[in-house]
Amino acid sequence: MKIILKGAAASPGKIKGKVRVIKKQVETNIEIEKGEIIVISFVTPFVFNYIFKAGAIITDHGGITSHAANIARELGIPCIVGTEKATQILKDGTEVIVDGDNGIVYKE
């Protein structure tokens, strides 16, 4: 497995899934498939309608008390925050493994 990204481990757990990069943070009509890995600059309340389907969350900005981290821990899904460049590096549909225990994103 190849390490493609590192950040702060904000919510534990490991999951494999397809990347879904959310470019517009103030958008209400985003549809995602259950289990997709949400990749976003940072979380705003506009994630509400799709966050419950997410398999994991990866953000560019924020620390372990950020809203993304709080949401992920409450829902029990892995989360990596503060990667600085996830939205630039990760592409829609790419299959990755999110390791929320260590804050690492792998590709097989």
């Binding site: 209400t28 705003t44 309340p45 509400f48 949401i71 821990r73």
Partner: protein, 383 residues
């Protein structure tokens, strides 16, 4: 160059020194880039809001506190008007922009001392959450709560996993709703507190309040004003708080839920999945209405709401002395015509050039109500 030593020596009020250090360290531990990862970004930075708010809000706060004292209210009574401690901490972010006169500096320092006293009262003497607990309830209150409130053991429920999942979804939904109301300052509408150690495990209390402020249209249809969740987790789960009431947990919360008690508008709610799903759907509907309203707002419209959210927090205090809670007409006009240029934002953007210790010193000066920008400029002329 102002060294940390001279900076501390020149400021004798230890409580304010401690406040500056605690808030600076917490904020820098929270994120490498304070303020970058929070709503109302990407529309505007919270710092731009501070630019508009700080002068009028802090001077209004000074006036109203004086009037309340003149009317004979005790510190305890004034503290209770704020309701919860973490919302007071979030008001103190207004110190980031600086006073322009000696009298303003003096008043701000007085306001800071008063606010710290109220937080201390509302946290039962645990002002800075030094033991990593946010002790809004005293030991008597927690004993009283436990003897009177029937906390449901989740493992006894027929569909326990589903119950845990819906409870988590409701808590996330209410947090999102709070963020829509109060932007990054979620603490204006919610207080998480505890953990309180009991026989069952440890209780984390999540209170959502002031959910129908009049400055938003969408909030008028929200189905309730307050919601309280007493959630019990295993003793092994490390639950910690910082001074701002932010929760530090490294483990997933939802799946570890052992017990639950829910109150909405002061009335207990039966912990049945059907009932919980109904509550979630009501919140979901309200959030969708809110998102629709907010999505098409301009930056100026959204800034107006951001400013109003701060002044709304002072409403219970203003009401006691018959002062309108809204900002002045002059401030509404400034929001329309003025391009915000927050001085402190320029400083925050340079933080990455400094060592960790230097970053803490700069943040301490930024939060210090006794410091002017001229004082900070001595640290680095670029400021």
């Amino acid at each position: 160059m102002v060294t940390m030593e001279s900076y501390t020596r020149n400021n004798t009020d230890k409580l304010i020194d401690e406040f500056c250090e605690v808030i600076a360290v917490d904020l820098l531990n929270r994120s490498k880039e304070p303020g970058v990862d929070v709503w109302p970004r990407p529309i505007f930075s919270p710092s731009e809001g501070v630019y508009f708010i700080h002068k009028e809000l802090l001077s209004g706060l000074h006036t109203v506190l004086e009037l309340l004292e003149q009317n004979g209210l005790t510190s305890l009574e004034i503290a209770k008007l704020f309701m919860y401690p973490s919302r007071i901490v979030h008001l103190m972010y207004q110190f980031l922009e600086k006073p322009t006169s000696k009298i303003e500096t003096h008043r701000r320092t007085q306001v800071a001392k008063n606010l710290l006293q109220y937080i201390d009262i509302l946290r039962n003497g645990n002002l800075f959450c030094k033991n990593k607990k946010n002790t809004v309830w005293s030991s008597e209150e927690i004993t009283n709560v436990l003897s009177n409130l029937p906390i449901k053991n989740v493992s006894n429920l027929s569909e326990a996993e589903k119950t845990k999942s819906i409870v988590s979804q409701i808590i996330v939904a209410l947090s999102c709703y709070c963020e829509l109301l109060y932007f990054a300052n979620l603490a204006f509408g919610r207080e998480y507190h505890g953990p309180y150690v009991v026989n069952l495990g440890q209780i984390l209390v999540r209170e959502f309040y002031d959910l129908k402020p009049s400055f938003w249209n969408f909030s008028q249809n929200f189905p309730f004003t307050t919601a309280k969740f007493l959630t019990v987790y295993p003793q092994s789960l490390e639950i910690q708080f910082d001074f701002a009431g932010r929760l530090y947990i490294h483990q997933p919360l939802g799946p570890q839920l052992l017990g639950i008690y829910i109150e909405i508008d002061g009335k207990p709610i039966s912990v049945e999945n059907e009932k919980l799903e109904q509550i979630f759907k009501m919140i979901q509907k309200s959030i969708n209405e809110a998102l629709k309203e907010i999505k098409d707002m301009t930056k100026v419209q959204l800034m107006t709401k951001y400013v109003e959210a701060h002044f709304w927090v002072l409403k219970p205090l203003n009401d006691r002395v018959n002062i309108e809670w809204q900002p002045s007409q002059e401030l509404y006009t400034r929001i329309q015509v003025e391009q915000p240029e927050p001085h402190h934002l320029r400083i925050l953007k340079t933080l990455k050039d400094y060592t960790k210790d230097e970053r803490v010193k700069i943040m301490m000066m930024l939060f210090d109500p006794r410091c002017s920008f001229d004082d900070i400029k001595q640290f680095d002329p670029r400021f």
